[in-house]
Symmetry: C2
Subunit: 101 residues, 2 copies
């Protein structure tokens, strides 16, 4: 990825109601990948879950947020799956990488 | 936190050598908290580990990166613990939050 680009950091804690969650998460990951301006995806979960999606522009993020299937997922998330979440829209200014030989 | 502020997204995959890692990670988290301009910390681990630290300014990030104890930890990380990592320096432009009643 070539800087600058954008990141959406989605940090959350789930409720005990996980019914339908894994299915929806997978569906949204697949759908995100099909959106214009999508660059990548990272996810990890401990007590806290962190999902980061990377995008070419703020416009691409805005369009993804307003996607109808994604809006339905966001609604269900608030109703059922999330105890708490925080979403941060970030501009990635610099990056560097290390890889073992 | 009041935007804009800064985030360091540190994504990594570990080697099989975890000797000393947990101790060092805890020590570095404690040390980061004592640095000027430190705002917060989030961590989650699955196959991938994501650690995000939040800072008031690029200057604060630069100082933390150059901290002597932290430099030693970074060196050991490359020698022993990390198979791969990527560090992204980001400006957090907007954020919103949801909390269940």
């Amino acid at each position: 990825m070539k800087t600058p680009y954008y990141a959406v950091i989605f940090t959350n804690m789930q409720t005990e109601d996980t019914n339908g969650y894994a299915e929806m998460a997978e569906k949204m990951e697949e759908l995100a990948k099909q959106q214009p301006g999508y660059l990548g995806f990272e996810h990890a979960r401990s007590d806290l879950a962190i999902t980061i999606s990377y995008w070419e522009s703020l416009e691409a993020i805005k369009n993804w947020k307003a996607n109808l299937d994604h809006l339905e997922a966001q609604k269900l998330g608030k109703e059922r799956w999330y105890q708490w979440y925080k979403t941060r829209i970030c501009k990635v200014e610099r990056e560097y990488e290390f890889s073992r030989e």
